[in-house]
């Protein structure tokens, strides 16, 4: 081990001796409990406040998502409220002109 390293080892040792564990003061426990009391929920209002603080953004996010879904093109259906009378009528006529769906084979019934 180099001389400097040995010196540093001795310094750590000396530091350990120079920093003994201090006796806690008489105020240690009362002050600690005062800090604990100051940080924990004091009444039934606090849990509600805590809940509300999380529910409000959640509700807002839900509204935004529902709004986006409502206005998105994929959610738009072919109803008469969003299309003109003529367009809906034309779509109906096209449906009527389609051949009837054949169900079953020749030997059925």
């Amino acid at each position: 081990m180099r001389e400097e390293e040995q010196k540093l080892e001795r310094l750590w040792e000396a530091y350990r001796m120079a920093t003994p564990a201090p006796e806690p003061s008489a105020n240690f426990m009362p002050e600690l409990w005062a800090k604990i009391d100051a940080t924990r929920p004091s009444s039934w209002v606090d849990p509600l406040r805590f809940l509300a603080a999380r529910l409000v953004p959640l509700a807002a996010a839900l509204i935004v998502m529902m709004g986006l879904w409502w206005w998105s093109p994929t959610s738009a259906t072919l109803d008469s409220a969003q299309h003109g009378y003529v367009e809906v009528l034309a779509a109906d006529l096209l449906e009527d002109e389609k051949p009837a769906l054949f169900i079953g084979g020749e030997d059925t019934i």
């Binding site: 540093l8 310094l11 201090p22 240690f28």
Partner: protein, 193 residues
């Protein structure tokens, strides 16, 4: 362990008397560790109380009483780390003033053998504080736990939750950095003389 597992279990389930017992058993040890980690006597109790405050609020997350001590050390390290970062953010001039003030106080009190010993201890603390100020908070805490607190690699592994090899690398690098700082301080002292 300074308390039975039963005390920890009861404290974890919200028993205030058990929590008090826990604090009373560990507070002196924690204050000593805090003293060595932060190096400032005037703030030891504040940081120590912060440790037990964090313990109070996180005790329900403790998996088993067997891991209580590494858990408490981890909280101590985190509280000391937060304190040191806050301190570093403050003006360095204030730190220098305080250090000078401590030296002046030690000088004024230097009469008789006890006072001389106190002065020597104050000088050692001053030197180590200067040395550790040259490295990061992470290095400072790791080295203090290993070299001053005398924790084993196994204990450090449980506190830092990293494997032995990673810890050895971190320790090696921290030692190199602090050695560099120490050599620089030694050179400066030789130049002054």
């Amino acid at each position: 362990m300074l308390v039975d597992h039963d005390v920890i279990t009861r404290a974890r389930s919200g028993d205030q008397a058990a929590f008090n017992e826990l604090v009373r058993a560990y507070r002196k040890r924690i204050l000593g560790t805090v003293f060595r980690l932060i190096g400032r006597q005037e703030d030891i109790e504040d940081v120590g109380q912060e440790v037990f405050l964090r313990l109070y609020h996180s005790l329900d997350q403790l998996r088993a009483p067997e891991v209580f001590e590494p858990w408490l050390y981890r909280l101590t390290v985190n509280a000391a780390y937060d304190y040191l970062r806050r301190q570093r953010r403050q003006a360095e001039s204030r730190m220098a003033d305080l250090s000078e003030e401590q030296v002046i106080l030690a000088d004024a009190a230097a009469s008789g053998r006890q006072a001389l010993e106190d002065k020597e201890k104050a000088q050692i603390r001053e030197l180590v504080a200067t040395l550790l100020d040259q490295v990061s908070e992470e290095d400072r805490i790791l080295l203090t736990l290993k070299e001053v607190e005398g924790l084993s690699l196994k204990e450090l592994e449980r506190i830092y939750q990293v494997n032995e090899n990673a810890l050895k690398v971190r320790l090696f690098r921290a030692r190199q950095r602090v050695m560099k700082a120490y050599e620089a301080i030694q050179k400066q002292e030789q130049q002054v003389r």
